[in-house]
Symmetry: C2
Subunit: 122 residues, 2 copies
DNA sequence: CGGGATCCAGTAGGATACTG
DNA sequence: CAGTATCCTACTGGATCCCG
């Protein structure tokens, strides 16, 4: 068989950019990363993700839940006990994102250098 | 040696989200992908990236050039002949992004299903 | 504790017209 | 051909207050 769709594979289509856009949102991946190892409650996540507001955490979690990346579990207690955990889908996303993050760490200094010299001459 | 910094590696820091944000911009990766195989001129890129306006293409290319991902070469002719090509940095980025794109294509249907059933119950 | 409702600022994205 | 200049809209991100 050997279909061989090498580097020339689509890669384009607007569908992919839908996911790229989600990944590029400010808090999405930081929340996913915070949940990587174990479930956490709302304010536990908030403490792990430095700088996030209640509002943005609530929005981000809701979006992730809607996408099926995070599972929300409400305990029958008062006050409410709500736990969030990654689904298999959410966990599988963190792998390629980790590749990207490694690239970022490896090349961010070069990018900043380029920006500085570009700004100096334009 | 085998240092073994497994899934617990940083991955966090705001620096990474700077790159993630860039990747998440609407046209950035589509332009990078269009330039993957060979240099192109402005309007050639515009034809390859369906739906992009002159304005957004100019902005995107300028940002990519500033980041050092794209090299801009002006020929000494009239009318101007301007060629854009990926730098080594730009080419190296497309590898991890391709991983993400493959993930996107593989799981986008599942995401849409989740969104539909979520919307139906909330 | 875990949110929702509201309001607000900044920016990404886009349409159109003009220019060297 | 390869942009720049304007102008506008929509959405992201955030601060604050309120509620069960």
């Amino acid at each position: 068989m050997n279909v061989t769709i090498p580097t020339t594979a689509p890669l384009d289509c607007s569908q992919v950019s839908e996911v790229l856009g989600r990944v590029g949102e400010k808090w999405t991946m930081q929340v996913v990363i915070a949940l990587r190892d174990q479930p956490y409650r709302f304010n536990e996540i908030k403490r792990h993700v430095r700088g996030i507001s209640q509002q943005m955490l609530a929005r981000t979690l809701k979006t992730l839940e809607r996408d099926g990346m995070v599972k929300r579990t409400v305990g029958p207690t008062a006050p409410p006990q709500v736990e969030y955990e990654l689904t298999a889908l959410g966990r599988s996303l963190s792998a390629p994102v980790r590749q990207l993050a490694q690239w970022a760490r490896a090349h961010l200094a070069a990018i900043h250098d380029n920006q500085l010299s570009y700004d100096a001459t334009h």
